[in-house]
Amino acid sequence: MSPAPTSATGQDPAVRLSDVHKSFGTNKVLDGVSFDVPRGSVTTIIGRSGSGKSTALRCIDRFERIDRGEITVCGHRVHEPSLDLRALRLDVGIVFQSYNLFPHLTVEENIILAPTAVKKMPKAEARELARRVLAQVGLEEKLHAYPEQLSGGQQQRGAIARSLAMQPKVMLFDEVTSALDPELTGEVLKVIEQLAADGMTMVLVTHEMAFARGIADQVVFMHRGKVHEIGPAAILSSPATQELAQFVGTGL
């Protein structure tokens, strides 16, 4: 993977957070968060539990509404009440910690549901697409399996394929390997690495430090609802702040 800066000048970033504030009740979760995700680049968000990293990610796809600030994603002004939510979610794919394949549908049915229902794609074409995205995640042979017949890693790869089938411009990954044991984690991370190599714009919240370091063009370290440190993956080797040093030092 090229460590070269990926943002072409004069091009808007795929995702921009500007001074984003968000509270749950009296608990301030995001306290003025700003960062850009250039097109075709990979940003990993790291930090302790409760640092606001997952909330920041969920705000990008408007699973949480922000109290103040601005979020722009592929031209969609996410913070505005007039946002076309459907259009936003056509451009953004999200994969969760708990896989969330639909248990009553086969892997293929999981994948073709949204393209046929939302994009009105003909079934035959959608099936072809399903085969393609499953090949991308190395799961072709599980086309007709139900989620419960798959391992956690396979389910998570299926969920990634399902998201890919919508051909999003940006992919969000919310601690997608946290529920997996180390062996299965590897196969999921490999899929994500391949996506990065293919030039997909991605934002990942992760606890896998080695992975975050290896894949990231940009690392965002969050601490107490703020972006505490931000920079290329190298900041993990030479932290500028004590908090990041401590976070990296304590492992994970």
Binding site: R89, F96, N100, F102, Y146
Partner: protein, 223 residues
């Protein structure tokens, strides 16, 4: 004294049983439609809709079916609406069953894990598509055993329709007993007929419950 039990009496009882079945099906269909609407209202995005439907459920669950029967059959005519015993019993059961099924089905819908909603949302499915393609198919599987179990309650509860003069199984037993004065024999027969109607459903409910616990792997042909 009307002599001893004969074939005509039995046929009369069976006819009553037929009406019990009719009333049960009426209650299930009417109550099912109403209950489905109630369940959707209970999980509506609108607070007002949730409150009104919740109030309906609370009101009906806090009222004996017998009183609802009295209200529709004797109460409505008192304010100017004539109503037949079948219509009164059918309407009462529909109102009653709608509240309970609405509650059972609301629970089923809400027991579909929250992340399933979010995954569907993330795929840009509309609210209706999320409901019909993702949530309801899963909720149906969760709701089927308790729904079948509740149907057994409905069958037994139709006996209350006898108080509004509707001649279903229990009432036909009463009528025959009034002429034969063989309460032990006749009510035993009534009990057996109710049991025959209910038992298969109880069994089915228990079987479905066991199967629901197993997931759906067995429906797949071996690869």
């Amino acid at each position: 004294m009307g002599g001893s039990l004969n074939l005509n009496h039995l046929l009369f009882l069976l006819q009553g049983a037929g009406w019990t079945v009719v009333l049960s099906v009426l209650a299930l269909v009417g109550g099912g439609i109403l209950g489905f609407a109630v369940a959707l209202c209970r999980v509506s995005a609108s607070r007002a809709v949730r409150l009104v439907s919740g109030g309906y459920v609370q009101l009906i669950q806090g009222t004996p079916l017998l009183v609802i029967m009295f209200l529709t059959y004797f109460g409505l005519p008192a304010i100017g609406f004539r109503i037949s015993p079948l219509a009164a019993a059918g309407a009462s059961l529909t109102i009653y069953v709608g509240a309970y099924l609405g509650e059972i089905w609301r629970g089923a819908i809400q027991s579909v894990p929250r992340p399933q909603w979010e995954a569907a949302e993330g795929l840009a499915l509309s609210r209706t598509q999320r409901m019909t393609r993702v949530i309801l198919p899963q909720a149906v599987r969760i709701a089927t055993p308790p729904t079948v179990g509740f149907f057994v309650q409905i069958i037994k509860n139709t006996s209350l329709a006898s108080v509004v003069g509707f001649v279903e199984l229990a009432r036909s037993g009463q009528i025959i007993n009034n002429s034969l004065f063989e309460p032990f024999l006749i009510y035993s027969i009534i009990a057996v007929i109710y049991f025959v109607l209910c038992y298969p459903l109880s069994r089915l409910s228990r079987r479905l419950e066991r199967r629901a616990g197993q997931g759906r792997g067995q429906t797949l042909a071996p690869a």
